[in-house]
Subunit: 364 residues, 2 copies
């Protein structure tokens, strides 16, 4: 199996957190690693946030690992040159329709949540958000002038059977590797697009995934239930807009945004392989860039997701996840997750600690 | 000033919680109170969840106070006869476009929240949700068959200038009576309807409400901020869909759903008076109906909102709110909010306690 990984460190803290990931992938070995530029870094070198060559390399790679893009240096650029456009082009040209947003709480960090500790300790839920359809992309859209001097703003929420089925399939496949439960979220009571969503997800489950337990929930109730008892969920699958709000709500529940990875997946080819982009949820944090202060764990955990979902290397992914847990349990923390009585360590020391913990577990 | 109040107790626990409100309004005095049927109770008596006579009375009244509708007895009725249709007709024919959903935490109940107590103690935020427009009502809508055998589900998110301005005005007026801050919430970064929303709210503020502080926030960030630090907000104004999710999320943050009131307001007439419907957020709770177990406080607090917003009786509303606080502080609780070491009291005893606390404060 070919394992070509395109690494795009990007801007701000991207390069320094990715350097720790690079060490880790080198240690595991067997990858064909390429590097490229994206975002402001690409604009500075080539006058565009993503070159056609890099885009072609991304389409050819088995997985793309991205750090972060953006920063004040490029904020005044015209719309098409902004760093974020590089990331959006990657998502669009790779047709990444399924956004996987885990909400994970490491035991050692459970008290960082604004929720009471017992409610989040051990939390491990996965939100699968549809990423290329729905009201953020539907036509017609725009703002029009009315004859009476008012204006009217319009967007269109639209989903087809195949758009729903392909993302639901990702959720069911994930559930099979987890606790076997999917909760599908929409507003079928007031939106026909939600009713179609519910029916198509149920039909797919009944036809192909009878081993997976499927429930349905209205999006407003889901927002309540995430706050009331987040551990009730295994996999949540929902549309682009509801997924936008619910995945951010769930991420905040963990209390450790700087720890969260994500994946965006495209369609499976004949061999079952999917286009895939992995990236930490956090941004480029230009205020601390280049100071050896950034927490590399979200990027390391994104690499772990890559091993698990793109390369079927569950054992190695488990090893990385466990090593991160060991490091946190040992009280080794970067500034963003440090607690009273602990001395914060730097980005490189955190990478050292994860590698050492992997070695210890592998050798022990 | 005329003070005609139409009381619609409805179904389940509605009549018994409303009986306590009735005692309280009688004590304050000066109201012309009418009673009517809504929901299953109306269906049983008249074969419809809302008669034309009751609808006419609601349109003539200065305020409508509603208990709750629905229950298993009426679940198998055809769509148009269901209890909920009575409530929906009231909202529609009264043109109630602004839904006020306070998220209030009483000191004595702060530990009931799933959030850490310090983060919610003293919480008092108000979400103003647009209630008659947006994607739940926009046309075109529906599910269509495509030539390729797939189906397509469509809904339309649409807002006009006047729809935005009238609900924003409600939010600004409320802010003036509170902490003077409004946060307007949309997704202007990806939705033109959200961009129009943002522009029209800002234009109104600059033209007429320069004394109110206005900020803008994306809806996904708002979902995060409600969980991270809910006390940062005073008034939030947002559209129908975002308001649906965010108001339920905020309600759950309080940990005491059975305590929360709501108001739905229509347009102001020449004298400044608005059509208005007040109701608790909780449902009809048929499982405990008729057993003197229901908590009347959400309905009592809905009556307090009525005094404040429909009748400009701030002193009396403050008195009710303070009396409720006294009762909770004294450890007098119905079963839904009772804590270890307390003996739960019934619905009537809770009404007794609130009236006694009002008398004590008024006479003290
Ligand atoms: Mg988001
Ligand atoms: Mg709701």
């Amino acid at each position: 199996m070919s394992k070509t990984v395109l690494i795009l460190p990007g801007d701000g803290i991207g390069p320094e957190v990715m350097a720790q990931v690079r060490r880790l992938l080198d240690r595991i070995g067997g990858f064909n690693i390429e590097e490229g530029l994206v975002g402001g870094a690409s604009y500075d070198a080539h006058g565009t946030p993503l070159t056609d060559d890099t885009m072609a390399a991304a389409l050819k790679a088995d997985a793309v690992l991205l750090g972060a893009v953006g920063g004040p240096k490029w904020e005044s650029l015209p719309f098409a040159d902004k760093p974020e456009r590089g990331l959006l082009r990657l998502r669009k040209d790779m047709e990444l329709f399924a956004n996987l947003r885990p909400a994970l709480v490491f035991d050692a960090l459970a008290q960082a949540s604004t929720l009471k500790t017992d409610l989040v300790r051990g939390l491990d839920l996965m939100i699968v958000r549809e990423l290329t359809g729905g009201v953020y992309f539907g036509e017609p859209r725009g703002i029009e002038d009315l004859p009476n001097g008012e204006r009217r703003g319009i967007n269109t929420q639209v989903y087809t059977t195949s758009e729903i089925v392909r993302v639901a399939r990702v959720a069911f496949d994930l559930a099979r590797k987890r606790d076997g439960r999917v909760c599908s979220v929409e507003k079928a009571n007031v939106m026909e697009s939600g009713l179609l969503w519910r029916e198509e997800v149920q039909t797919l489950r009944d036809a192909e995934y009878t081993d997976v337990q499927l429930s349905h929930m209205y999006a407003d109730n889901c927002a309540m239930q995430l706050v009331r008892q987040p551990k009730q969920f295994d996999v949540i699958v929902t549309d682009n807009l509801f997924g936008d709000l619910l995945s951010d709500c769930a991420a905040m529940l963990t209390g450790s945004l700087g720890m969260l990875p994500s994946a965006s997946l495209g369609a499976a080819d004949a061999s079952g392989a999917r286009k895939a982009l992995y990236e930490p949820v956090h941004g480029s944090a230009p205020d601390i860039a280049g100071q050896d202060k950034a927490n590399p764990m979200a990027c390391i955990l994104s690499a772990s997701m890559m091993l698990r979902y793109s390369f079927d290397m569950a054992a190695e992914a488990d090893l990385i996840d466990a090593a991160c847990q060991d490091v946190l349990n040992a009280g080794i923390r970067t500034g963003d997750i440090v607690e009273a009585g602990m001395t914060p360590v730097g980005t490189v020391a955190m990478g050292d600690a994860v590698l050492a913990a992997m070695d210890k577990r592998a050798g022990g």
